[in-house]
Amino acid sequence: MTASEVVISCRNVWKVFGDYPDRLRLTPDTTMDELRATSHIAAVRNVSLDIRRGEMLVVMGLSGSGKSTLVRCLARLLDITSGTVEVEGRDIGKLTEPQLIELRRKKMGMVFQSFGLLPHRTALENVAFPLEMRGQDRASRIARAREVLELVGLKGREGYFPRELSGGQQQRVGIARSLAVEPDIWFLDEPFSALDPLIRREMQDEFLRLKGMLAKTIVFITHDFDEALRLADRIAIMKDGAVEQIDTPDRIVMAPATPYVAKFTESIDRARVIHAGALALPVDGRPVEGDPLPAGETLHALARRIVGDSRVLIPLSTQGRISGLLDRKAALDLLLGPAT
């Protein structure tokens, strides 16, 4: 993942709502109170982040934390107040309308929380809609729409109207639509929040399957921490419009940057999140005894074997090579709580 190409890059992005946001002078130190005094509200506050090709970034936060606004800034559904957003090196704030439309027609796909399906079109016509907009001929766009609908498991439902489909099925249509143009960048704005828990789980699995099949740069918004941990390569945690921490799930859990992040991770079963590799100590010439454990598994998955093991330092392997040593006591502390 290192050194790969940056696809989306935000620098000091602000999105301020109010009467005259353009007249404000925004610096990294501008506080919410200063803005509030002029009856402005900052939905996104001085956000800088990079998203690399093929990476899945999950933006996490409570409702009102600005995560949905941030993703809308990345897609330029909203014009930002200050800062820059670059997509593949082009400042999207400077694109003309035709260029922006072109970008969306070729590169971007988005999935919405309440699906945003067109009620007067069938599932098939909804999926074909972006293709229709870019002027693709009828036969080929219908063929492509059928193909994508089949991919999301909706074969046989092509002629149904959105209101005739269940929530999960509607979101499958939404996902299919966003994939129809084969975008490189995929925005998902709380795609599973409107679904009930069982369907949500099923859709997450479905999503992981799709993600495995398609190499895409993904920005995924959620307010569900478990969902974030389950899906993310990296997580950005937002509060009051600012990014509190952006890091891998293990690091977020093990080394929260702020008290807010720490509070978030408190109730999490850490053993289910932290991978053995995250606890690895360097070998540094210490003896390596016996069979190694896989570093890429969570402690929870390895629990039985760690408990049954008698070694003080258990070797870990990554792709068949010894990558480090796991301190058994530290692992047990994480699994069972510190010894009293």
Binding site: R105, G109, L118, F129
Partner: protein, 650 residues
């Protein structure tokens, strides 16, 4: 014990005091009326402004100098070309395309099929049956004259409404300009629209069509704006992310997503058109309205009941069909081509059958005068018997109302000094909404005083006052009765809905039948018309009370009467006031229409302005009526809103 902090008082004390001061001043003027100088009782002649002359000058300028006449001519020619086509198709007027008239059997079958497609067998029966009734009763030509205008006017109105609604949606400025215009336009009585049309277009079907178009545009504008505003932001964003251009976003995302509101707008356009087309008989529009007008003037009750039934049936059919269209949700179709297009095929079959029948026997093409059925005679006989039976009651009622209620009240309203009324209005305005509302009240009331039509306006006010009071006395108990349980309130609301679709003109038939042509008949017609919204809003107000509140009162041991008095009625009052407001609007419209029975109010003057095609006078009178309506509207809605907010926050 909880320590209670008092909420801030809902009214500032000074607001109450100022209002009281105004009201006291008004009272003083009333008490000392005999001693007042004439200039305070009625505004002195010198203050009366010649609004009518100004308007006439403006119109003359627009017509002669600006060449507005050419524009209106061009537009009316276009409308006329369309009218010729529908007139030829529907009743065989000899104009291009010279193919009509379409046999009634074909049209009835088409209506039936449309009804089936939109709302199933019952609607099919209603729609088909209506047209069979029209044909069999020998009213085909009149009904088609009416319909040929509606068929042309509705699409024009819808397109104008869509365009202007979109404009208002796109530009704040356009909305700001349009909004007050729409407010006034929707409270101008029908006749006020007719006079300028007569001046610019003349009389006849063309004028009828144009006045209908103008009259029915406002609701379409409002519904378009509402629909476009209401599209969920995610649908728009999903459209944008699909790479739509602005035009694509508008035509393929926004407008289709606003479909329901737009179609409800279409429904309102259709209903307004029907109401107007019937009334346009006053400016020489042929058809059902003209026939009804002639029959009513000749006091032929039986025949006018027949026409009345036709108009009512048409209104119900048009309303049900267009509403069914609005709420119809798309459904996926499966099966072979023949199955998916079965309705179309059946319709084509029925049309063919209709043409064959018409070819075999002329009866199915046109029902001749001799073959037409009529129920006028038995109706007349029955009405005669009925009148005989109840005339002691109606005569007494008429005598009682006229001598003891109407004349004294009218005299009292006329006796009031203008200045006292203005002060009282300002006081009430201040009480309800502070300085702003007081100014709004004066801004509406003062021009009426300045126009010189004060006495006529006071007669209109008195008629509306009496009618709405009677409507409340009748409507609230009916509403209470209707709100007893869910099933019954649904039935009551359906009846109210149906009554509200009838063109107002219809209400004159039964009252003329019962009371003859006089003041009481006018009041009766207005009362019937104005009771409907009261019943409806009483039911809605009572049904809208949260069940927890009712349950908690019941658990506190409230008896049904106590429950009604202390819980339900107070909570339903804001909704009821909204109903009263609509009732006032309806009354104003009806009073003006009822003028042709013979009244002495603004409506009567408006009829005179219409027959002498005096645009200035007609519009001044129209605005006077509109301002009265808007004044009541402002006060009642402001109060109901404030009260509703206060109830909800507590």
């Amino acid at each position: 014990m909880m320590t209670a902090t008092l909420p801030p008082p809902p009214l500032r004390l000074d607001q109450k005091r100022i209002a009281l001061a105004f009201l006291l001043a008004a009272l003083v003027l009333v008490i000392f009326r005999p001693a007042l100088p004439a200039g305070l009782i009625r505004l002195p002649e010198g203050l009366i402004l010649p609004f009518a002359d100004w308007i006439n000058a403006t119109f003359a300028f627009a017509r002669d100098e600006l060449g507005l006449m050419t524009v209106t001519r061009a537009f009316s020619d276009m409308v006329e070309a369309c009218l010729d086509v529908t007139a030829n198709l529907l009743y065989g007027k000899s104009r291009w395309p010279y193919v009509g008239p379409i046999p009634w059997a074909v049209i009835a079958a088409t209506a039936g099929m449309a009804g089936y497609a939109l709302g199933g067998a019952r609607l099919a029966l209603l729609a088909g049956g209506t047209f069979v009734w029209i044909a069999v009763m020998g009213q085909w030509k009149w009904a088609m004259e009416t319909l040929s205008v509606i068929v042309v006017a509705v699409p024009f109105s819808v397109v104008f409404g869509l365009l202007m609604g979109t404009l208002a949606w796109r530009s704040r400025l356009a909305e700001r300009i349009l909004n007050p215009i729409l407010n006034i336009a929707q409270s101008l009585p029908h006749f006020a629209y007719m006079i300028p049309v007569v001046v610019f277009i003349g009389v006849g079907p063309k004028a009828g069509a144009i006045v209908t178009i103008i009259f029915s545009v406002p609701p379409m504008i409002r519904m378009t704006l509402l629909g476009l505003r209401g599209v969920s932001p995610e649908i728009i964003e999903s459209g944008k992310m699909s790479g739509t251009t602005r035009l694509q976003l508008m035509t393929r995302v926004r407008l289709p997503a606003a479909r329901t509101e737009i179609l409800i707008g279409v429904n309102q356009v259709i209903m307004q058109s029907l109401a107007m087309v019937v009334l346009a008989s006053f400016i020489g529009m042929p058809g059902l309205g003209q026939k009804l007008l002639q029959l009513l003037q000749a006091l032929k009750i039986g025949l006018s009941v027949e026409i009345g039934i036709t108009i009512v049936l048409l209104a119900i059919v048009l309303d049900r069909m267009s509403k069914a269209w609005a709420v119809k949700q798309p459904e996926h179709a499966t099966g072979p081509w023949l199955y998916r297009h079965r309705l179309l095929l059946i319709w084509l079959g029925l049309v063919a059958l209709g043409f064959v029948l018409a070819w075999v026997h002329p009866y199915f093409s046109e029902v001749g005068r001799k073959q037409a059925l009529s129920m006028a005679e038995p109706v007349d006989a029955a009405v005669g018997v009925l009148i005989e039976m109840i005339s002691p009651v109606t005569d007494w009622l008429r005598w009682f109302l006229i001598t003891w209620v109407l004349i004294p009240l009218r005299d009292a309203f006329l006796w009031l000094p203008t200045t006292a009324v203005l002060l009282a209005l300002a006081g009430i305005g201040w009480r309800v909404g502070g300085l702003r509302s007081a100014l709004v009240c004066l801004a509406f009331a003062l021009p009426i005083a300045l126009s010189g039509w004060w006495d006529r306006a006071m007669i209109t006010v008195y008629t509306v006052f009496v009618s709405v009071a009677l409507a409340l006395i009748l409507g609230v108990p009916l509403g209470l009765l209707g709100a007893v349980n869910e099933a019954r309130s649904r039935r009551f609301l359906l009846v109210c809905d149906t009554f509200q679709t009838f063109p107002s003109f219809i209400y004159l038939i039964p009252v003329i039948m019962l009371f003859g042509v006089n003041d009481v008949a006018v009041i009766a017609a207005v009362v019937v018309f104005a009771t409907v919204p009261i019943v409806r809003y009483t039911i809605e107000g009572l049904r809208g009370i949260p069940p927890e509140i009712v349950e908690s009162a019941q658990m506190s041991g409230a008896s049904p009467m106590q429950l009604l008095r202390h819980v339900k009625l107070p909570l339903a009052v804001p909704t009821l006031v909204v109903g009263a407001n609509q009732s006032i609007m309806f009354s104003l419209f009806m009073v003006i229409i009822a003028a042709f029975i013979g009244t002495q109010d603004l409506g009567q003057e408006m009829q005179r302005a219409l027959s002498s095609t005096d645009v200035g006078k007609g519009l001044v009178l129209g605005f006077a009526v509109a301002f009265m309506g808007l004044l009541a509207d402002h006060l009642l809605l402001k109060w109901a809103h404030g009260r509703g907010v206060a109830l909800r926050s507590s």
